[in-house]
Structure formats: structure tokens, C-alpha cells
């Protein structure tokens, strides 16, 4: 009898714990207002301060929940999508087709109506390129209903940074940074002769290689030809693409790259530039905050990547830095949208820009941002991003393209070899896509 009672008690206690735990979690979620999931470690304090202000103003509690690093955050959001436990507001990291899958799976609210209300007043405050990353046009390749599905909270772009003090040390004019490729190479050779390492970037993180290469692809062949290549109409063995690959060969052969750049993570590259051990860096606008922390006395400027051709404009990789999406199944959808509207007003955007040194997504906030950020902001109209192109490249092609460039930099392969290899992967992917259909 005693044994039976103990058994029953154990099982009962176990089940009660589980049921109680689930119940408490649900209740707690309901009682605590709007929940926002994000991965931005550097912005958590600023977000919390804004949440306090919002609670005072509107009497609605906002819980900013930070999940870092970004890889862990991505997994959390994916798992939550599969179990239908996404919060009221969340961010999506990754390529546009992942964003599309979230929408098609019924997790993201279409905010077009809210954006267009009152003659598009809300929509009008954003940089158009920032909004484009969250927009799906009709006939898009992902089969998503046309609309705007996210709210950009900041923008970013990736440019070339140069160290003014090192410029002077090498006898270069720190007020006249290079604007063409030839000038860049000349400046690089002068810096090298003065014993100063030239260019550093986290090209061990292959997406940064992709940014640099795509800037020059736009400059050399124009957007139409880039899009035609992604569509499969132009091969990667085209002379223009070989020219893009050859840029990396040139800077590698002239020894203008910092040692170990092909396996370097961006954090290391940032440390090298901040410690004045390289004259140029290829980095995003977020670096302003990073460099400020690493070396507040660093004297530097931001310039667009030096153009190699006059045929087409030089594009700059950028657009929306981070965006928030509203959970379409959230019971507090209206409040969530209202909070995002408040977060993107000029006052809050200026606060975010000043406290986190990121570019605001609200274009009317620009007048009040630090000068170095303004240098980045000047070129926002020239930004491009894979997410705003009408077609998307196969992930395996992107990987083989970027890994191939690493091999060019190490001198292991030639641009022609890499072009052939990338095209081979592209042909294989097109073939499998046709078979699937």
C-alpha cells in the first residue's frame, strides 16, 4: 500500500510540475505586456531605457529579451516558429528566402496597411532602401504576397575606412582619400613602403567578401548584368566577372592585405584597425561604436569603395541594419505595431543613434547624429543589398563564390579557375532546380 502511494505521489508530482510550469509560463507571458526578441547585445541598455519611457508614456510594459550570439538567436526563432511560440515582436536574421519562409508559414504580419495609412506618413519617414529589404514586390520569386513585412529600426552600410594619422605618416594627404582604384593602389603602395599594413577586413566571415565583390560587380558590369547572372543568363566565366575576381588577385599580389585576412574574423580586423595596425578597413557603420570602445582617439574617415570603372556607379552594400517583425498571431498585434511606430519616431531614433552609434532608419533624424555616422549616411542612396534584388542566388553558389575568392587571395587558384568552378556549381543547382520542378 505504502509502495503504491509513493509511486502515485511521484508520478502525480512529476505531471503537476510539468503542467504547472507550462501554465505559469503562459500566464506570465499574458501579464507582462509586449515581448520583443532580439540579438543586439550593444543595444540592450538603450532598448531597456526606451521601454521604461514607453511604459511611463503609454502604460504598456515592453520586455526586450536578448538572445546572443546571433547564431543562437536564429536557432531560437526557428524553433519558436515551429512550435508557434514566437513573441509579439521579433527579428529575423538571414537571407530573404528565410524571411519569405517565415511569412509563408504565417508568422509575420503584413504591415502595408499601417505603413500606407494617413497618406503613407509612417512609410515616408524611412530610407527607401531600408524599407525595400522588408518589402516583397508582386511576382517575387519566393511566392510571397506583395507587401511590407518588417519595420527597420536602423540602417547600415559597409564602406572603406581610412586612418588619417597613418595617412600622414606615409606622406599622404589625410583630407584627400583615394576615390579611384588606381589611387587606392598607389596609396596602398606608399603605405606599404612606409611599413604600414594596408587593408584589413574580416574576410574569414565570407559574407564580407561577398559585400566587397558585389560592390565591384555593380561598378564593373551594372545591376542589370548582375541580376542576369543570378537569373542564369550570364555565366560567371564572363570577362566582367573575371575582372571582379581579379581585383582580389591584384591586391593580394601587391601585398596590400593584412596577414591572415582570409581566415580573420571581423572582430579581429576591427581590433587591428582600431589599434592603428592597418591603414584601411572594409567595415560596416556599426564599427563607429566598436572603434569608440576600442580606441576613442582613433582618427578616421569613411569613403565609398574606390571605383574601378566609370561605366556604372559604385554600389555600396547596405540597407536595413536590423528590422523588427510583428507576430501575425499575437493577441497584442495593434499594440505591437503602435510600439514600433513610436520606436521609429525622430526622438527615439536620435536617442538610439546617439546611445548606440548606429545609423537611424528614420531619415529625419540624420541632422542630429555624430559626424562620422553622417559620413556613412551620405551614401545611403547608393546602397544595394541581395535582399532588394528581384532574384536571389543559390546559397551554394554564394558559398563557392566567396570561398573561391579566398583561394584567389591565397594564390592557390586563378580568377579563371574560380569562375569555372562557380559556374559549375551554378549549372548543377539550376539542373537540380529543374529536376525538382
Amino acid at each position: 500500500m505504502t509502495k503504491r502511494a509513493v509511486c502515485m505521489f511521484c508520478v502525480g508530482a512529476f505531471l503537476s510540475c510539468i503542467i504547472g510550469f507550462i501554465g505559469c509560463t503562459r500566464k506570465a507571458e499574458k501579464a507582462t505586456g509586449i515581448t520583443v526578441w532580439h540579438w543586439m547585445t550593444d543595444r540592450q541598455d538603450a532598448f531597456n531605457q526606451l521601454a521604461e519611457i514607453y511604459e511611463k508614456e503609454k502604460d504598456i510594459k515592453i520586455n526586450f529579451e536578448l538572445y546572443a550570439p546571433s547564431g543562437a538567436y536564429t536557432q531560437k526563432v526557428m524553433a519558436a516558429a515551429q512550435t508557434n511560440t514566437l513573441p509579439d515582436i521579433f527579428g529575423i536574421l538571414g537571407e530573404k528566402r528565410i524571411f519569405a519562409s517565415f511569412i509563408k508559414a504565417g508568422h509575420v504580419a503584413d504591415l502595408t496597411e499601417e505603413m500606407d495609412a494617413r497618406d503613407g506618413k509612417w512609410r515616408g519617414i524611412f530610407f527607401s532602401k531600408a524599407l525595400d529589404v522588408n518589402r516583397f514586390l508582386s511576382g517575387n520569386q519566393f511566392g510571397v504576397e506583395p507587401g511590407i513585412y518588417g519595420v527597420p529600426i536602423d540602417v547600415t552600410n559597409i564602406q572603406v575606412l581610412y586612418n588619417k594619422a597613418l595617412f600622414r605618416r606615409a606622406g599622404l594627404d589625410s583630407n584627400r582619400p583615394p576615390s579611384t582604384w588606381k589611387e587606392f593602389i598607389r596609396a596602398g603602395e606608399k603605405l606599404k613602403a612606409a611599413g604600414i599594413p594596408v587593408l584589413v577586413s574580416g574576410w574569414g566571415e565570407i559574407w564580407l567578401i561577398d559585400c566587397f565583390a558585389s560592390n565591384y560587380a555593380f561598378n564593373i558590369m551594372g545591376k542589370e548584368k548582375v541580376v542576369a547572372t543570378i537569373r542564369g543568363d550570364v555565366p560567371y566565366t564572363d570577362p566582367d566577372w573575371i575582372r571582379v575576381f581579379s581585383i582580389f588577385k591584384e591586391i593580394s599580389e601587391k601585398e596590400l592585405l593584412a596577414q591572415g585576412v582570409v581566415t580573420m574574423v571581423n572582430k579581429t580586423a576591427e581590433q587591428i584597425f582600431a589599434n592603428e595596425r592597418a591603414a584601411f578597413a572594409f567595415n560596416g557603420s556599426w564599427c563607429v561604436n566598436v572603434y569608440k570602445g576600442m580606441n576613442p582617439a582613433l582618427e578616421y574617415g569613411a569613403i565609398p569603395p574606390p571605383k574601378i570603372s566609370d561605366k556604372y556607379p559604385m554600389a555600396i552594400w547596405g540597407g536595413a541594419g536590423s528590422s523588427f517583425m510583428v507576430n501575425v498571431k499575437s493577441e497584442k498585434r495593434e499594440n505591437a505595431v503602435e510600439f514600433l511606430r513610436w520606436l521609429t519616431t525622430k526622438k527615439q531614433q536620435v536617442f538610439l543613434a546617439k546611445s548606440t552609434q548606429n545609423l537611424p532608419s528614420n531619415k529625419y533624424s540624420l541632422a542630429e547624429i555624430p559626424p562620422i555616422l553622417a559620413e556613412f549616411a551620405d551614401d545611403m542612396d547608393r546602397t544595394t543589398h541581395p535582399g532588394i534584388l528581384p532574384v536571389a542566388e543559390f546559397p551554394r553558389v554564394i558559398e563557392s563564390f566567396n570561398k573561391g575568392i579566398q583561394s584567389i587571395i591565397t594564390g592557390e587558384k586563378t580568377p579563371e579557375q574560380i569562375a569555372k568552378e562557380v559556374q559549375k556549381v551554378k549549372d548543377r543547382e539550376i539542373k537540380s532546380q529543374r529536376l525538382e520542378r
Binding site: 519562409s101 591572415g260 582570409v262 558559398e399
Partner: protein, 296 residues
Amino acid sequence: MVAKERFKAIFGNYLFILPALGMFLIFSVYPFFKVFQLSVFQWDGIMPTMKFVGLSHFKDILFRNPTWWQSVGNGAYITFLALTFQNCLAFVLALLVDRGIKGGKIYRVIFYLPPILSGIVVGLIWNWIYNGDYGLLNYALKALGLAGIQRAWLAEPKTALTSVAIIHMWRGFGWGFIIMLAGLQNIPRELYEAAKVDGANKWQMLRRITVPLMIPVFVLVSILTILGCMQIYALIVATTGGGPGYHTEVPVTRIISSMLGQSQFGYACAMGILFGLILLTASMIQLRISRRIKQE
């Protein structure tokens, strides 16, 4: 009545393990079978629907994915180095400590420190050692008059994989050392004393007593080495990220890249199954060889 009482007694006992069994089924058995199910579907990890593709993922990996096979080859290279150099070093050191060299206890602690450090921390330390500009290794080489061979060790195709393998061996030999030392200490001392009385020298004692009795330990260490080396991941992420090119890609980095980088969950699961089969085959071969050696 007796049968009922007996049933109650047995069933009652099972009730106690029910919570643990539940956890085991949910977190171990279910995912194991789910991987098999997902491997025959195309799924991006988000959409509620999946598309059945049969064995096409397996076909693609086996016949049309050279980078996968390169990653398996890289993993095998690291494993080969570990099986030979790392385990030999572990055995020699265990032997020395077992023979009671001065400060044996301190060595035991020192050798066991690297394995308990996180792969990321180890990677960051060695990143600094291997750095092309200000690395300790290049500094030492210069001091020794070998400036000609200085390089960015982790960024050059010819040296990247071996450099990573050296870090892995440095980190991993402590495990082998501890297990082998435990094995050595289990060998009855009387055997050595009897051999000594019979006039055996140290080399003969090592060949005729130590090595044969250590075979089960060697097998265990070898299997653990194979499994540990082939599943190397954190160290790669912290040092090379799989680069330059595909030179330090290993099976786990390919699986993670397919799953999270390319959102091909089904494909990644198929890779995982094939990888599991490779490891299983390697372990089986290892066991069979050791059994044969033991019989001989």
C-alpha cells in the same frame, strides 16, 4: 491473486523510472528517428510543410558534393595525426608518470588542463600563437634565425589544416594520458616482478607485458580519438571558420552550414546519417582489428 501482486510489484517499479524514461524518449529516441525522417524530405526548418524527395539527398551528397568528401578527408587527416602522434605522446607520458618520475602528480594536473578548456578559448589562444604579424610562433622562429619560414599559419592552404590538427592534439592528448595512466596502474605489479626474476629487461617487459595488457585501453582511446577528431567543430570555428577556401572544413561544419547557413534541414540530416555511418564503420573496423590482435 499472486499474479496480480507480482504484476503490481513489477509495474510499480517501472513507475519510478517513468520520468527518466520519458525524458530519454523525448530528448534522445525521438530526435534520433526524426533525423531519419527529415533526411528524406526537403525542409527549410520554418515552413509547416515538407516535400518528400526520397533518397535524392543521399545521392547528391555521395556523388555530387565534392566539398563534403573534402571535409571528410580533412577530418580523417586530423584523426590520423591524432591516432599516431597524440596517442603515442599520451602513452609515453603515461608510462613516465606511472614509473614514478619526480613531480608525477603535477604533470597529471598539467596534462589534464587543456582538455577541460573550451574549444573556443583554446582556439583564441592559438590564434594569437599562430598570428602572422605578432604571433608567438613567428617570434620564436625569428629568434631562432628561421625568419624565412614565418607565415600566417592558419591562413595558408598548405599549413592551415596541420596547424588546426596540432591545436586539436595539444588539447586532446590529456584524455588519452589519463585513460592510459589508469590502464597502466591496473596492470598487476607482480607480473613485472616475476619477469624481472626471469631476467627480462625493460624493453622486454614493455613488449611482453605492458603492451598486450594495454590493448583494450588502446582500443578505447583510439575509438574515442576517432569520434572526437571527426566531430571537431568549435576549434575550427574559433580559428579558421573552415577556410581558407575549403581547406579546414570538417563534416560538422558542413552539416551546420547546410542546416543554418543554407536552411537545408533535410539535406543536413542526410549528411548527419552518412557521417554517423562513417563513424560506426570506423569504430567497427577498429574493434575487429583489436580483437584479432588480442587473439594473436
